[in-house]
Amino acid sequence: MSLIKRHWWKVTGVLLVLYSIIMGFLGEVPRLPILNETIRNLYFHVTMWFAMIFILGGSVFYSIRYLSKNQINDDIRAEHMANVGILLGILGIVTGSLWARFTWGGWWVNDPKLNGAAISLLIYLAYVVLRNSMDEEQRRARVAAVYNIFAFVLLIVFLMVYPRMNRVDSLHPGNGGNPAFSSYDLDSNMRLVFYPAVIGWILMGLWLADLSSRIAKIRYKKLSMEAQIDTTVL
């Protein structure tokens, strides 16, 4: 019973992603020129970005909590959620590039959403570099937390505000004066797969982040225990 209580969200995530894999290929999709069957990428490419934004939001939550409570566990969680977010972002940009090659005609087109995604990924890579460049634990945690908040704000601006501005042209639905995907390519059939897929990938991402931060916590505890033993021996 406690097994279900502890792991229900992981099971839900797995089942939802499995459902999206099956229905993503076998479900009915609208027939649109140029897109053809690649419209199914909505279930696999767009979900990466939705999950990434959610996971990185969670990372910021833990960063803020670290700043207010000063618990190193929150810093560890923030770090590993950011790592998973970066992984999802890289998957999103690579899959998007492949999709663009066959629908927009190039691996990389000069689209504000693509450039915004690239810039925000670089900002998050800088987060990793910044963390690795500092040795002192408290200071690293504090600086990283503050930087994380900035990075998330920039992410929202580059992915959601800038591509939607009227003056920029974007090929993405819902941007640059284009209709949002609700108006044409997300019909009610696709919603039934798309939203479960988003929730499923968010839960999978949370699981990955949970695992890697737990390993990091074990390592941290081990190191601090060893340090204690060293000082008592000396």
Partner: protein, 72 residues
């Protein structure tokens, strides 16, 4: 003159647009009907199941480590 103009327009409408409207949009219909798409779905599901099994094993290992550390 006006009549001629309208006839030209009508001809354009009749002959130019239907070709666009009737254009078949290609989808992998036969691929799904008898083209073994189910095999692809099956294989992708197996790959995903493999990754999930790996994650479950990792989950167990981490829990064991956590327990060991708590008791020590």
């Amino acid at each position: 003159m006006i009549k001629k103009f309208f006839i030209t327009i009508a001809c354009l409408v009749v002959f130019a647009f239907p070709s666009a409207a009737q254009q078949q949009i290609e989808m992998a219909d036969t691929f799904r009907a008898d083209g073994k798409i189910y095999v692809v779905v099956g294989i992708l599901s197996i790959v995903f199941a493999g990754i999930v099994l790996f994650l479950i094993r990792l989950e167990r290992k981490v829990s064991r480590l956590e327990k060991d550390q708590m008791s020590s």
